[in-house]
């Protein structure tokens, strides 16, 4: 697709959970180098970051974050530090990729420009109100199929693009304990809109989003008591995604899933997965409790921006989920605090 992507439209936000980013950035150089990078150093990390030359980038450390945010109850350590990057960005689009992921190869052996694919996803409409069986109708070589109502063919703005992962798929700890050697080798050549009201697990490993329209809804909310540095020891992105999908559905905005793939390294052996299981089990249990809530949540018509929606959701979470587990009460507080931060730090220039 020959869509024009302006350099100054995109920020690439990287949460640095490892100190040596050299290999990561060198591999991504062909696709990252034209864009500005916002690199957030995990506040828990002692060592200095190693970043190869030739990138237009800005690094934010724990002290930078403290200076900009002031006192805040939100804990930005671990994978949640990326949200700080979303906050301080001033670009229309953000692409965010975990630092243990490299460019993948498609079925022709060509390296995938994940950044470009996310932007294409975000710049072409989504179609949440009817499922197109040939997947993305705006893709070259595809279209709407017979029976797709014409009135729905303009689509809506796509504000979230959820990419996938080859090699180490984003499985939870129990699955990895059972299948430590499984690798995702299936490259599914499709992007599709996730239909309205369908709930989905949004993985934070490989995403792009429209910061202008969706910004405050990408939020650090749910922090597990035993949250760790591995993705399978967190639920923060899953919680964020469930909230974000509700916001998108309510505002009539679209979410796509599928391409681009990234290649995710660093698997875990069975014993490591067992350790993670002890941490993540809490998250697995919590998911069971939230499903009925997200299945039935409805936002008032007065909520017309992402900010409005997050505030409304926070109140509902506090009221309906808070009594079930203090983690939810904290999440609700974090969501309110996040909107405050967003108003103070985030929205200028957006």
């Amino acid at each position: 697709m020959s869509l024009n992507i302006e350099d100054n439209e995109v920020d690439i936000v990287i949460a640095a959970l490892r100190s040596d980013l050299t290999a990561f950035m060198e591999k991504w150089r062909p696709f990252f180098s034209r864009f500005h990078l916002i690199i957030i150093k995990d506040p828990d990390m002692e060592e200095d970051l190693q970043i190869p030359p030739g990138f237009d980038h800005q690094v934010f450390t724990k002290s930078d974050m403290a200076q900009i945010l002031g006192a805040t109850s939100i804990n930005f350590s671990g994978h949640s530090c990326r949200y700080f990057g979303y906050l301080v960005s001033r670009k229309k689009y953000i692409v965010s990729i975990d630092d243990d992921c490299l460019p993948a190869r498609d079925n022709t052996g060509t390296l995938v420009d994940a950044v470009a694919q996310h932007i294409v996803n975000l710049k072409t409409p989504a179609t949440p109100f009817f499922f197109n069986t040939l997947y993305d109708p705006f893709c070259k070589g595809a279209d709407f199929v017979r029976g797709f109502p014409f009135s729905l063919r303009n689509g809506v703005e796509c504000v979230l693009s959820c990419g996938l992962w080859l090699n180490i798929a984003d499985y939870d700890a129990p699955t990895q304990v059972v299948k430590p050697n499984d690798r995702n080798v299936r490259y599914v050549d499709a992007v599709m809109t996730v239909p309205v009201r369908a709930m989905m697990p949004v993985s934070g490993i490989n995403i792009g989003f429209n910061r202008e329209l969706l910004g405050p809804a990408l939020l650090p909310g749910l922090r597990l008591a035993g949250e760790g540095k591995q993705r399978w020891e967190t639920m923060e992105d899953i919680w964020c995604g469930l909230c974000t999908k509700v916001v998108c559905d309510h505002l009539g905005l679209g979410v796509k899933s599928g391409l681009p793939y990234v290649w995710r390294g660093d698997g875990v052996d069975a014993q490591g997965a067992m350790e993670s299981l002890k941490r993540e089990w809490e998250g697995v249990k919590l998911m069971e409790e939230v499903v009925p809530f997200f299945q039935s949540v409805r936002l008032p018509r007065t909520a017309v921006t992402a900010e409005d929606c997050v505030i409304e959701m926070a109140a509902m979470v506090k009221e309906q989920l808070g009594p079930l587990n203090p983690v939810f009460a904290s999440a609700a507080d974090a969501m309110v605090e996040w909107v405050k931060l967003w108003k103070a730090v985030g929205s200028q220039g957006a």
């Binding site: 079925n107 009817f130 499922f131 197109n132 069986t133 040939l134 997947y135 893709c139 070589g141 595809a142 279209d143 709407f144 199929v145 017979r146 029976g147 797709f148 109502p149 014409f150 009135s151 959820c162 996938l164 798929a169 984003d170 499985y171 939870d172 129990p174 699955t175 299948k179 050697n181 499984d182 690798r183 995702n184 080798v185 299936r186 490259y187 599914v188 050549d189 499709a190 996730v194 239909p195 309205v196 009201r197 369908a198 709930m199 989905m200 697990p201 949004v202 993985s203 993705r231 399978w232 639920m235 992105d237 899953i238 995604g241 899933s257 697995v284 998911m287 069971e288 499903v291 299945q295």
Partner: protein, 370 residues
């Protein structure tokens, strides 16, 4: 059963040769069956001959089949035959009605065996069977698509309580080469060919409608059969090429109500024939306008909780069609009536079956013929 370790062979899919009928509507000939022989030969074929019943349809040697033409349909259904379309592939649903098998696979006579990107010929029927025999997951979208396929699983964040899934009622396959476009799109893009092989099967979420194409379709007749009525199309009707759309929307809302699953994606077939775009435009013309009313109708259909079987849901649906779509065009009153006739015919030909939700264990009737 072969162990499905990471480099083991895929467990073999059961043939189901005594539990599945292949229904093929045709007006021309069945030469295409020759290419399908390795995959179709074990099965019983139900051929529905549309158009002039005095014409002889040549069936390649060696297939076990029964052919029904318009005379047979009229004779077997009597006055109820009015619900079966003439001069439209919608007539295929007569085959669904009279089948005694648990599963149906229906395919058009211009659909051939497709190849995957490695050049391997695809056994579409086997993939449909796999889709139907494994659960669907309509309540939560899995970003790695069908979690029951080898090499995939549920992703992090997928609630464990939803991982059993529900029974799969429908398996909707796709097409390489000539895509299933409507007439306006065909006119604008006459040369477009679908060359993208998307290696995925996925469940269509609950509450989401889709355009169900009848040219490469399989379903569990015991779970959803009575909802697979392909409507009044073709000769003497103001609409054509919406038969499968109609069946798809009716069956999807019923599946959603009864907690049954609908999958789409693999298998691909190779669709060889592009029908005439101008002829299609004439047939679809009303449909293109009416679907703007039909889709919101289906999106808002609600079934009372007393509708616990497919037939009850379908009768209820026919009432709602009459009440809410009747004002769009008198055609919908006729369609609603024929929906009722269809259920009467279904119950007459399938008296012992109780088309309920997956939990009920349904005894198969005696197998017919071979």
């Amino acid at each position: 059963m072969v162990d499905s370790g990471s480099n083991g062979a895929v467990p073999s899919t059961p043939l189901l040769k005594d539990e599945l009928d292949i229904v093929i509507p045709t007006i021309r000939n069945l030469d295409f069956l020759e290419m399908w022989r390795p995959f179709f030969q074990p099965y019983h074929l139900i051929i529905i001959q549309d158009g002039d019943p005095s014409k002889t349809i040549r069936v390649p040697e060696g297939f076990d089949y029964k052919l029904y033409n318009r005379n047979d349909i009229n004779r077997m259904l009597g006055p109820k035959a009015s619900c079966i379309s003439f001069k439209d592939s919608a007539c295929r649903c007569f085959g669904f009605l009279i089948s005694k098998k648990k599963y149906i696979f229906t395919i058009d006579d211009d659909c051939f065996v497709a190849k995957d990107p490695s050049g391997k010929e695809l056994n579409a029927l086997e993939q449909h069977i796999r889709n139907l025999l494994s659960p669907s997951t309509p309540f939560f979208f899995n970003t790695l698509y069908d979690p029951f396929r080898k090499g995939a699983d549920f992703v992090r964040g997928y609630p464990f309580s939803l991982r059993e899934g529900v029974a799969t009622a429908v398996s909707h396959g796709l097409w390489l080469n000539i895509p299933d476009y409507d007439a306006p799109t065909q006119l604008v893009k006459p040369l477009e060919r679908n060359t993208r092989f998307v290696d995925a099967v996925l469940t269509i979420p609950k509450g989401t409608l889709f355009p169900m194409c009848g040219m490469n379709l399989a379903f569990n007749r015991e779970l959803i059969g009575p909802a697979m009525y392909f409507g009044l199309m073709g000769d003497d009707q103001p609409i054509g090429r919406y038969d499968d759309m109609w069946a798809g929307w009716c069956s999807k809302v019923i599946c959603d109500h009864l907690a049954l699953g609908v999958k789409t994606g693999l298998p691909y077939i190779w669709h060889s024939k592009a029908s005439n775009a101008f002829a299609n435009l004439k047939k679809e013309y009303n449909g293109i306008y009416w679907q703007e009313e039909m889709v919101p109708f289906f999106q808002s259909v609600k079934f009372p909780k007393e509708c616990t079987t497919v037939q009850k849901c379908y009768i209820e649906l026919s009432k709602q069609v009459k009440a809410r779509l009747g004002k769009v065009d008198p055609y919908f009153n006729k369609l609603a009536d024929s929906m009722v006739t269809w259920i009467e015919a279904w119950d007459e030909f399938n008296p012992s079956e109780n088309m309920g939700a997956a939990a009920a264990e349904v005894p198969n009737g005696p197998a017919q013929g071979k």
